[in-house]
């Protein structure tokens, strides 16, 4: 077995051990619930980054999260479909709508696309707000059931109404999703996405059907946004279309900030950004009202002084260290 493979496997085992041990170590429902939300955010931000791979920045990702959330919840509540299928269908609904919008939307570039996605997510939110018979209107969707219990032969029946159990469920789903996103990025498909981001014109010239590849990317990113939304719905047991809640403009802002502070050049960037900013928010627990100010300040400082994000920190430190160590050159005076 090659050394690289061994290191990879060991890291994964280590990470898995940490993830499993976390709730037990932290020992409080409060912290575990923070971790659940953080995990859902990690999936959201990572899938947001997937879209960035083809060069599009979206302020509307929460819109697809909304579709997955309401979709999955309604399928369970009104149609009686089991959670395990509903969550997948929720993601699928988000994906289908994304695909329907993909071709016209992805023709729009730059700032216009940002604006377009912003308004689209707002429109989805308003639809949820103004369709009481379906979505509960302004009061939202309440009493969303937790996932159906599953029965494993030797172990017995596992229910998911406890935060702890839900944490492990979310950890598995998020990890699987991240694995898929990561492998996609490293695959030939991911290479083509990078190529398209660099130059759509040149990509066309080498025979790449740019629109199709971008549409595929958009669909996949939105699928996982939908999954994240569904995970949220069955955890929170309630969904609200209020602008300050999870599917409003403010949430979109946070997603972008998480992605950028972590760094969007590497896959791990959004994950690091989300973890870091979640920790920062928690540290300032008493000062909740200062949270937007802190996060806003971090975002601005990052863009001004470390635009590549936290991911670029090791490199920066190395450069700075080297500069520090390099002895000052003495100028030889000509005699």
């Amino acid at each position: 077995m090659s050394r690289k493979l061994l290191i990879n496997i060991l890291s994964i085992i280590f990470l898995a051990a940490v993830i499993i041990a976390l709730p037990i170590t932290l020992g409080s429902v409060y912290w575990t619930s923070i971790l659940v939300i953080m995990g859902i955010n990690i999936l959201l931000v990572s899938s947001l980054r997937t879209l960035k791979l083809v060069g599009h920045i979206s302020l509307g990702h929460v819109g697809f999260s909304l579709i997955g959330a309401y979709g999955s919840a309604l399928l369970l509540m009104k149609v009686g479909i089991s959670f395990w299928i509903a969550i997948f269908l929720g993601g699928l609904m988000a994906a289908v709508i994304a695909l329907a919008l993909a071709y016209p939307f992805l023709r729009v570039k730059g700032i216009y696309f940002v604006l377009l996605t912003l308004l689209t997510a707002e429109t989805f939110r308003l639809i949820a707000r103004y369709w009481p018979s379906l979505t509960g209107g302004v009061w939202g969707l309440l009493r969303i059931p937790p996932p159906n219990p599953i029965t494993i032969p030797v172990i017995g029946t596992i229910t998911f109404d406890s935060v702890n159990n839900y944490y492990y469920l979310a950890a598995v789903i998020v990890s699987l999703s991240l694995f898929v996103l990561y492998r996609l990025e490293r695959s030939r498909l991911g290479f083509k996405w990078r190529v398209i981001q660099d130059s759509e014109v040149l990509a066309q010239s080498v025979g790449i059907n740019v629109m199709w590849h971008k549409a595929l990317n958009f669909t996949i990113a939105s699928f996982f946004a939908g999954i994240a939304g569904a995970l949220f719905a069955h955890y929170q047991h309630a969904l609200s279309p209020q602008p300050t809640a999870r599917f409003g403009l403010l949430a979109s802002v946070y997603l972008i900030v998480y992605m950028v502070v972590g760094g969007e050049s590497k896959f791990a960037g959004p994950i690091i950004g989300t973890v870091f900013l979640t920790m920062v928010s928690e540290l300032a627990r008493g000062l909740e009202e200062y949270r937007p100010i802190m996060i806003g300040a971090i975002a601005i400082l990052t863009m001004l002084f470390m635009p590549e994000g936290l991911i670029g920190l090791p490199k920066r430190v190395k450069l700075w260290y080297r500069k520090l160590l390099k002895p000052k050159r003495r100028v030889q005076c000509p005699t």
Partner: protein
Amino acid sequence: MDLPAQVWVQAIVNGLALGWLYVLMALGLTLIMSIMGILQLAHGEVYMIGAYVTYYCCVSFGVNFYAAMFISMVVMAVFGIFMEKFLFRPVRTQILSPIVISLGLTLILMGSAVVGFGLYERSIPRLAQGSFVFLGSAVPKDRIIAVGFAVALLLLLYLFLKKSKYGQAMVASAQSREGALLRGINPNLMSSMAMAIGCALAAAAGTLAGSILMLSPSMGTFPLLKGLVIIVLGGMGSLLGATIGGIFLGVIDGVIPVAFGPAVASMAPLIIVIIILLVRPQGLFGHE
């Protein structure tokens, strides 16, 4: 739909009054967007803070309303210049950074407002009491005064852009940044002026709105969205488009809720803009 004519007139008048305020927002946004090339998503917060500055001048320092509004415009203009120089100019060449910075600003400004001013709503003393009767419906005087101010500011802006050297330079920069560079126009100066003027207009709009409606830290989001809708409708970089689009949207905003209800009212402008962005992103009058 068979409502008495007065209701329609009221709706249109209400819409026009608000529409003019949105025009001020849209003009600022379009200047900033076409001269600096950035989407200033924090503009709504500038509007909001402008309103609060006026409020505090009036209420805490007992300053006359008109003077307070002027102070607010100056303060926000200076703030705009500061933002341009230290926050936006360093990242001028990038795509993602300015957006994130404007988002960060939104967070900071709105968060500061919540912390500093509190969540409950207040209002600036009314501009005037009572109302005129026009075509059978009561038009509150304060709305007329607000519109009057807005129109006056618009005319001032128009004169500046048409007649003064700097104004003409700004129009040139708004139409084509490269063209302006070639003619030796200083882009930094243009950017500073765009921010200053844009923020002053937003502050005025916020102040006027604050005197008609209520102040709250979240009051800026709605006008920002309206402003964005208008500049897409009217076209990025087109000042005429922003003006016409604003009035048009104002009327629509006044009439649609009466005719079709709040759901359509909130969604219709968004959907119209979405369609325009898909079909003709440069808007009805725009350039780029």
